[in-house]
């Protein structure tokens, strides 16, 4: 069934439509939450709470796009709240050295080596760690757009900010990540 039909039926109170929407979005929500909180228990809490809240807010949903952005907004806000509650220390990646000239060359050299799978894994882990060190809003923007593949419009709606802010956050975050990566690869 089309997403639009499902959302319309869900707004009217159809429980089966809601169950189907949960099945369609649960992995995405869990994935976002896991990337933000980096553990299963918190990701589970965010996922469950997101769907309970979306059910409570079903009368506020206007259309399919709004439904998607509302899910993202609820999930990310709840995850941010959890992060703040835990009072995790964020080590800013701003204090890295000057941007090194060619991260790309270093990355290419790593992926061409005989142990490329292992090195790729290490590279991925370094990037992941770098994402975890970004300031919260940049981190959320990168996770939603670059990692999970949501559009800038969807991310902007989810975060309640203009698209230009999303674009700006992405540029800053990626520049920091490249610096971080270059420093670690050196």
């Amino acid at each position: 069934m089309e997403l639009r039909d499902l959302v319309e039926r869900f707004i009217k109170g159809d429980q089966k439509a809601f169950a189907e929407l949960v099945r369609r979005y649960e992995r995405k929500v869990y994935s976002i939450a896991y990337r933000m909180l980096e553990n299963h228990l918190d990701a589970d809490e965010v996922t469950q709470e997101t769907f309970v809240r979306i059910y409570e807010k079903r009368h506020e949903i206007r259309d399919t796009n709004f439904f998607t952005s509302l899910i993202l907004r609820i999930a990310t806000n709840y995850a941010i709240d959890l992060l703040r509650k835990k009072q995790r220390r964020f080590i800013s990646v701003d204090d890295t050295d000057e941007m090194l000239p060619t991260v790309e060359v270093e990355m290419a050299a790593l992926t061409e080596s005989p142990d490329s799978a292992l090195l790729n894994e290490e590279l991925g882990a370094i990037i992941e760690k770098g994402i975890g060190l970004l300031p919260t809003r940049q981190r959320v923007t990168v996770i939603l757009h670059d990692v999970e593949g949501f559009s800038k419009t969807e991310v902007a709606m989810a975060m309640g900010c203009p698209e230009a802010t999303v674009r700006s956050n992405l540029h800053i975050a990626r520049a920091k990540l490249k610096k971080w990566l270059a420093k670690r690869l050196k």
Partner: protein
């Protein structure tokens, strides 16, 4: 297109959302500018690697359990809402706090004026205080021993109209239990 625009539109280029004309213009600049070409490659590499990272799979059976838990939570909320319709809260409660005593007062007034005392009189002392419970005003009136039921009702209206609803219930209860005796 200049270097600044390349940096600004790099996402649109990489996501393929450019029109053919713009794409050609973008790639034309990349061919002629080493820095921008390098920048575009870095961005592409970084984004590809970020998307490659999969989240660890949760424990077996997790998704089914999650769906069950969400269903149970939603059902519990629905039941809670149904309950809330019978247990007023917030502004609804405030409305009920005014309307119920008011209605009770009106009913008491009606009963009071339409009451006809049975022959031989009905004495308040005929009612056992235990039947009345903790309602002190009613208890006090009943213990006076000389007060008739209409007088008790009038007294209730005057002394504690806010509690008149409760008084009415108690009065009905007493009437139901003791009426045959009078």
């Amino acid at each position: 297109m200049n270097c600044r625009e390349i940096h600004f539109y790099i996402d649109d280029y990489l996501s393929g959302s450019f029109s053919p004309g713009l794409r050609e213009e973008f790639e034309g600049h990349l061919q002629s500018c080493f820095d921008c070409r390098n920048f575009a490659d870095e961005e592409k590499n970084l984004m590809e690697r970020m998307r490659d990272r999969a989240v660890p799979e949760p424990p077996p059976g997790y998704w089914e359990q999650l769906e069950t838990r969400i269903g149970a939570r939603v059902l519990a909320d629905e039941i809670g809402k149904i309950g809330a319709e019978y247990v007023p809260s917030g502004s609804r409660a405030a409305m009920w706090r005014i309307l119920v005593p008011l209605a009770a007062v009106l009913v008491l007034m009606f009963l009071s004026f339409s009451w006809k005392e049975p022959s031989g009189g009905m004495r308040a002392s005929s009612f056992s205080p235990e039947l009345i419970g903790n309602y002190s005003v009613v208890q006090m009136e009943f213990r006076a021993d000389t007060v008739s039921v209409p007088e008790i009702m009038n007294s209730l209206l005057l002394t504690s109209p806010g509690m008149a609803g409760y008084g009415l219930i108690q009065m009905e209860r007493l009437t139901r239990m003791g009426w045959e005796e009078f």
